[in-house]
Structures are given as structure tokens and as C-alpha cells.
């Protein structure tokens, strides 16, 4: 586990994740208190990535369950391998005939088969899904339940049970109890508010868009090839776009994509034309692009007015 909050920061940084002191504190507490961690925040602020680097930093395996509408226990916990069972019965037809040999009537035959059914409902025919894998794992794991808000309320109720005692019962096989309590990370985009019961069980971490300093640090680590000047300009623009009322506010991933694209184009410094041409790397919707362009033009006009010179090149104005 982690020795301290600073240790969290250092070890996540080794894996390329810049954690604020607030994030690191909550991570430290989750690992100390052995509580599931519910991470909420807008898209692209590093919720999923946090779980991934956490596993790397701890040297634990990451087991990930991507949630979606209609996700149910058979996809999350385990499923009987129906096809395999069927195949076995086909291949073993003769053997089954033998077993049934000498039985009188249907009822007796069914009884006889039923007495054998543990053969078919054994671990051989079970297909463990992420949750069962996390519970039966020999070594400690980080269990990521990604975008839990997309799953149905019924699934949430089921999860609640699992998170409170970390054991599951497979009726045919018995109860499995976790050897080591997995470090559970749930992420949510707030498509649906999670139930109070679930929230009570979890530590809560709200990750917002990073401030300027942290975003610069992230770029330094994620796009080291970009010049510092360019990074500063890019972050300025992105931060000002985040203040707009956009349908999809650009996240950190968009900032990274954008600066990578710009570096590929061998850009040293932003100008209006360039921004216009590459804007679709950070804002995706038609309406958003329009708003963003307006904002940037306004931004430029203001800076120009402040400097009181119409001759300064647009390049400098974006700083």
C-alpha cells in the first residue's frame, strides 16, 4: 500500500499521472480505509486513467468492468457455459445412455440425470466475469467499475451487496469469499445520480477540470515533445473554452490530442488561422465549434485592445 500522501503523488507520477493533493489524499484514504472509491466528474478528466495508474503504482492486476445499459449478473459475475454444456452432452450421448440404462419411465430417468448434474454445474462449465474474477483472485487486484452510471438501478442494488461483504454465492457451487479485499474504483459521469446507499459505502472524489498549473504539468508528462511556449498557449485557449456553455466541454484528453496534432504539424506557436483549422480536435459539435470560434475572436480582440496596438501579430496575442 502507500506510505503517505506524498508517496501516492510520487508513485502515480512515476506512472505518468499528475495527481493534485486532494486527489492523492482521497486515494491514500481509500487504500488505508479499504473503502470503495466513487469518482465523479465530467468526461475526460482522468477518472478511468486514475484507476489504471493506481493498479500500476501498486503493482496490482487491474480488472475492469465496463458498465452499460442492460448489464446484468451474467455479464458481470459469471455465466454458465451453456454451449459447452450442450456440446458435452452431445459428445457424451452414449455415456448418458449408460447412466440412464435400466431406468423405468421418464420420471426415473429425470431423477437419475438430476443426481448427476453437479458434473455439469461445476467450475469447469462456469465462465467467470470480472466481478467473480476479482473475488476469487489469488493476488490483490484493483477492480474498476467504469461508468457505473450507465448501468441500471437493479445492477447497482446487486453491486451494493457485493461491496458490503465481498462474497458471492453461486447456488450450484457454494460461496466464494475474497481472499484480499480488492481496491474498488467506480467512475461516473453523472448520467444518473447514484443511490444514497451506494454513496454512503464509498469515499467520494469529485475530479474537476484541472487548473492551469496542473494541466501544464500533465502536458509536460503526456506530450513532452511540445515546446513550453506552445503548451502555455494551448492551455490558455482550452481553459478559456471551458468557461463557455458548450455541449461537450473539452477534457484533458482533448488538450493532449490537440497539442499532439499541433506538434505533428510542427507548430511552435498558435495563431488564429491555426486554431480555426485544428479546433475540431477539441470541440466536436457543430454548435460548439461556432461558439468556440466566436470566443476566440473575442479573446483576440480584447487582448489587442488591452495592448492598444493593432499591429501586434496574432501569434503573440494568444498568450
Amino acid at each position: 500500500m502507500f506510505a503517505s500522501i506524498d508517496d501516492v503523488i510520487a508513485r502515480l507520477a512515476e506512472q505518468g499521472y499528475i495527481a493534485s493533493r486532494r486527489i492523492a489524499t482521497v486515494i491514500y484514504l481509500a487504500s488505508e480505509l479499504k473503502k470503495p472509491l466513487l469518482v465523479e466528474g465530467p468526461a475526460g478528466v482522468g477518472k478511468t486513467d486514475l484507476a489504471r495508474v493506481l493498479a500500476l503504482a501498486l503493482g496490482h492486476e487491474l480488472i475492469r468492468l465496463q458498465c452499460y445499459e442492460g448489464l446484468d449478473e451474467s455479464k458481470a459475475l459469471y455465466e454458465w457455459e451453456y454451449a459447452k454444456q450442450l456440446l458435452y452432452t452431445q459428445i457424451l450421448k452414449d455415456k448418458i445412455g449408460e447412466v440412464l440404462g435400466g431406468t423405468q419411465g421418464l420420471k426415473a430417468a429425470v431423477e437419475r440425470i438430476a443426481s448427476q448434474d453437479e458434473v455439469f454445474f461445476s467450475e469447469r462449465f462456469i465462465l467467470p466475469r470480472p466481478l467473480l474474477r476479482a473475488i476469487t483472485s489469488e493476488h490483490p487486484v484493483v477492480l474498476l467499475l467504469d461508468e457505473i452510471d450507465k448501468a441500471d438501478a437493479e445492477f447497482e442494488a446487486f453491486l451494493l451487496e457485493l461491496l458490503s461483504d465481498f462474497q458471492v454465492t453461486v447456488p450450484e457451487l457454494g460461496t466464494f469469499k475474497a481472499r484480499t479485499i480488492p481496491l474498488v474504483v467506480l467512475t461516473s459521469n453523472n448520467a444518473r445520480e447514484m443511490s444514497d446507499a451506494l454513496k454512503r459505502r464509498c469515499l467520494h472524489l469529485y475530479i474537476d477540470f484541472p487548473d492551469r498549473a496542473r494541466e501544464l504539468e500533465i502536458l509536460k508528462i503526456k506530450a513532452p515533445e511540445a515546446s513550453e511556449k506552445l503548451a502555455a498557449e494551448v492551455v490558455s485557449v482550452v481553459q478559456s473554452l471551458r468557461r463557455l456553455d458548450l455541449k461537450k466541454t473539452p477534457g484533458i484528453s482533448e488538450t493532449i490530442d490537440w497539442i499532439k496534432a499541433l506538434t505533428l504539424l510542427n507548430v511552435q506557436s498558435l495563431d488564429e488561422e491555426l486554431v480555426g483549422e485544428t479546433l475540431d480536435a477539441i470541440v466536436k459539435y457543430e454548435g460548439d465549434i461556432r461558439k468556440a470560434q466566436e470566443e476566440l475572436r473575442e479573446h483576440l480582440r480584447q487582448v489587442r485592445a488591452r495592448r492598444g496596438s493593432a499591429t501586434a501579430s496574432d501569434r503573440d496575442l494568444l498568450n
Binding site: 486527489i23 489524499t25 482521497v26 484514504l29 488505508e32 442492460g70 452432452t89 444514497d196 454512503r200 467520494h204
Partner: protein, 470 residues
């Protein structure tokens, strides 16, 4: 520490946050591991254990400031003020403090811990002593502004202010005898002089802050900063903005929930157990896959939204909400009215939210400067648009039912109700005012399946929850 956390949890509860006993225990456990030393860490530890809704974070932040970091921040602020008064940068100030320490050593004086902490700007030590003094002076029992003076004096005694002043004055005298150049001596003298007055100032502000955090009136103020509880009527520009975002988010979330439910309804799930059972009839060959199928009617909604001046802010949010609703349900038809009534469905469909709202509210569709006339609006609706309504339609009326003493024509509303599946009325006025003055809410209410007060975001949330098809 536990007492302090318990008290803080009480404060959160008094301001509308739900903190369960289990969560309080988690907070205690968390703080036991992080310690109290660092403000940001403490804040994160408490937020992660006690605040589980993003909406509640601002209230938490405000109370945390009031309750925990207040004293430390006050001390740091005075430190910065002194630095400014001496016109020093951070670095310079550090060097200067080292010089002060040398000076104290050279003057050969035994100083009290408190005096050293103050002169050497040891903020942590100072904070610790003041908190201890506050405990002795029972500061936690303060309630009213009038008591501030009394408690400030008690704190001064507990911390030993008079003693401190005497000590520092002696230090000041001793400076003159030190072998420094005149400029240095003068600077040291100014510095100690400022420091003498400083502690009193800190105590005064500390007492005030502590009182505010316990004062019920101050609590109400911070409770109001919870946008969810704030009435649509009383919003500043910034709050309007936040509210707009919140309404959009609410609608988005709604969209997701409905989408999920609807899809599930349409598809039906593969039912493995029943498939297996059924297959027994065919010698175990799964001839037919069994799906669990649920039928669900697509709801239809007709919204009638009052856009008169008396409900201006409220209708803005309602319309924004209606705008999002149109995306949501297969068939939403939207109307706005003041005295006339007009349909905005197409408008909403073809324009972005800002434009559509502007058009609806600025008089392009109906005259918004007319005097409200619900009766006439319903009468017109019943004669011109009644075809919009059938047995599957939910009709939602949003308005304050202030009819300006016109004829209510509630028979027309009844006619609407009879053809519809249900009729819901959302009123942005406080329930206690319904039926008074020119409000004819009571006359209309008898024809409604549901009448809800809807004057803030939280109420809108609840209404929405009820509207959702299950």
C-alpha cells in the same frame, strides 16, 4: 478532534447535507490517518467522507472555510498584511525573519513561547495557542453578535495578551541598544510595533468568524447559497448562469434515464432459464429463444407554459426544460401563453436553446407584455388545439394562475383534462400564496391530477422523477 468533527457534521446537517453516522465515523477514521496539519488534506478527507453529491460541494466549502480554516487563514492574512506594510517580497521577508531571530539571540533576552511565535511568524504555533485559549474561554458557547466583545476579552486573558504586550515593548526598547545601523534598527522597531497590535486584531476577527459559523442567520445565508433550494425568483446573474447549467444537466440526465428504460422495454432480455426449460420439449435443443418482453407506451406530452412577466425567471427555466423535454419524448408539443396562446414546437425543434427561448420570451410568438389571462388562453387552446390531446397525452401547465380577475374558464381546462391521460400543474409560486389575491389556483386545481409547487431546482427534480414513465 472527534468533538470538533461531530460539531462540524451537525453544522453540515443544519445546512441541509445528509451526513449519516457511518459517514461521520469514516470521517473520524480518515482524519486519524491524515492528521490535522494540512488544511487542503483535511478538506479532502472530510469532503470525501461526508459530501457525496457534487451539488453539495459549494455549501461544504463555505462551511469548511467558516469552521476550520478560518483561524489559520486569518493568521496568514495578517502575516501577508505585515509583509506588505514593510514592502517586502517573500524572500526578503524570510531573510528579515532570520535577522529578527539573530537579533533576539544577541539581545540575550529570554522570551515567552508566545512572543517568539509571534515575532518569528510561527503561524502554526500561534494557531495552536489561540485554539487552546478559545477552549478555555468557552468560545463555542457564543451565539449573538453582542457577545463578541465579551468573548474577545476572555480570549485575550486566556492567551496572555497583557503579558505579551509588556514583553514586546521591552524588546522594542532593547533594539535601540543593539549595534546595528540606524536603518536596520528602525525597521526592527516598526516590525515589533506592528506585531504588538496584531494579536488583538486576530482575536477579534477569530471571535467574529466563530460566532458567524454558529449563528442561525448566517446558516440561512449559506444555506441559500445552495442553488438547489433557491427560488427561481431571486437569482443574481451568476446564479442564473449556474441555474441554467443545472437545468440543462437535469434534462440530460433525464434523457439518459428515459433512453435506458425505453430501450430495455423495446428489446426485452434473453431469458436463459426459460429458454432451457422450453428446450426440454425438444430433447434439449433450444428451438426457441425466449425473450422477456415488456410493453411500454410511448408517452406524449403537451406543455402549456406561462411566459408573463410575473413568472419571468421561472418560465425561463421551465422553457429551457421543455426544450430538453422535446428531445426526450417522442411527441412533445409546446405552447406559450400570456393572454394569447401560441405553439412553439417547431421553433424549439429548429433553433438552439438560446435562440428558441429568446423568441418565446421576447414577444415574437405571443405578446408578453399583455396582462395574464389564463381563462382566455385555455379557451383558445380548447377551441383551436384540442386535437393535440388524446388518451395518451400528459398535459403539463406551468404558471402561477394569477388571472388578473379575468374569467377563469375552468370548464375549458376540464375539457382538456377529460381528453387527456393526466393533467399536471406546476406552480412557481409558494403554495401558501395560492388562492390569494388574483390567484385562481384553487379553481383550476380541482381539474388537475397533480398540482406541485415548483419554485426551485430541487422541487423540479422531484417533479421530474414523478413524471418519468416506469
Amino acid at each position: 478532534m472527534q468533538d470538533k468533527l461531530l460539531e462540524f457534521a451537525e453544522l453540515l446537517r443544519a445546512n441541509g447535507l445528509r451526513v449519516s453516522p457511518a459517514e461521520l465515523l469514516d470521517a473520524v477514521g480518515a482524519v486519524a490517518r491524515t492528521g490535522l496539519g494540512e488544511r487542503e488534506v483535511l478538506r479532502a478527507a472530510l469532503a470525501s467522507t461526508m459530501v457525496k453529491r457534487a451539488r453539495e460541494v459549494p455549501v461544504f466549502e463555505e462551511l469548511f472555510e467558516l469552521y476550520f480554516s478560518g483561524l489559520g487563514e486569518i493568521i496568514r492574512q495578517t502575516g501577508r498584511a505585515i509583509q506588505r506594510a514593510l514592502a517586502m517580497g517573500d524572500r526578503e521577508f524570510q531573510e528579515f525573519l532570520e535577522q529578527v531571530e539573530r537579533m533576539l539571540r544577541e539581545s540575550g533576552r529570554e522570551l515567552s513561547e508566545l512572543a517568539r511565535a509571534i515575532l518569528l511568524h510561527n503561524t502554526g504555533e500561534l494557531e495552536r495557542r489561540l485554539r487552546e485559549a478559545a477552549r478555555q474561554a468557552r468560545l463555542s458557547s457564543i451565539r449573538r453578535p453582542l457577545e463578541e466583545n465579551h468573548f474577545a476579552k476572555a480570549l485575550e486573558r486566556a492567551v496572555g495578551l497583557a503579558e505579551l504586550e509588556r514583553e514586546l515593548n521591552e524588546v522594542r526598547k532593547a533594539i535601540g541598544a543593539l549595534p546595528y545601523d540606524a536603518e536596520t534598527r528602525e525597521r526592527l522597531d516598526t516590525y515589533v510595533g506592528i506585531r504588538i497590535r496584531e494579536l488583538q486584531e486576530i482575536i477579534r476577527r477569530y471571535v467574529r468568524l466563530d460566532r458567524q459559523s454558529r449563528d442561525p442567520a448566517a446558516r440561512d445565508r449559506s444555506r441559500l447559497s445552495d442553488i438547489g433550494e433557491k427560488s427561481f425568483y431571486h437569482l443574481s446573474e451568476a446564479e442564473l448562469d449556474r441555474m441554467r447549467q443545472a437545468v440543462t444537466r437535469l434534462a440530460q440526465r433525464l434523457r439518459n434515464v428515459v433512453a435506458i428504460r425505453r430501450r430495455r422495454g423495446r428489446r426485452g432480455r434473453f431469458d436463459a432459464k426459460r429458454t432451457l426449460r422450453r428446450s426440454l420439449e425438444h430433447g434439449g435443443v433450444p428451438f426457441r429463444l425466449v425473450f422477456d418482453r415488456r410493453k411500454r407506451e410511448k408517452p406524449q406530452v403537451v406543455v402549456l407554459c406561462d411566459v408573463s412577466d410575473s413568472v419571468r425567471n421561472a418560465s425561463r427555466f421551465m422553457l429551457q426544460f421543455v426544450y430538453s423535454l422535446q428531445d426526450l419524448y417522442s411527441r412533445v408539443r409546446s405552447f406559450v401563453f400570456v393572454a394569447d396562446i401560441g405553439e412553439v414546437t417547431e421553433h424549439f425543434r429548429n433553433h438552439d436553446a438560446a435562440q428558441a427561448l429568446e423568441a418565446a420570451l421576447s414577444g415574437g410568438i405571443v405578446n408578453v407584455y399583455a396582462h395574464s389571462n389564463f381563462g382566455r388562453a385555455f379557451k383558445t387552446f380548447a377551441s383551436d388545439h384540442i386535437g393535440a390531446i388524446n388518451r395518451r397525452t400528459t398535459v403539463i401547465v406551468m404558471g402561477d394562475a394569477r388571472n388578473n380577475w379575468n374569467l377563469p374558464y375552468d370548464s375549458c381546462l376540464r375539457e382538456v383534462r377529460q381528453r387527456a391521460r393526466q393533467l399536471i400543474w406546476l406552480n412557481p409560486e409558494s403554495r401558501s400564496t395560492w388562492g390569494f389575491g388574483d390567484s385562481v389556483m384553487d379553481q383550476y386545481a380541482v381539474h388537475c391530477d397533480l398540482v406541485e409547487e415548483c419554485r426551485n431546482l430541487n422541487q423540479l427534480y422531484r417533479v421530474v422523477d414523478r413524471l418519468l414513465p416506469r
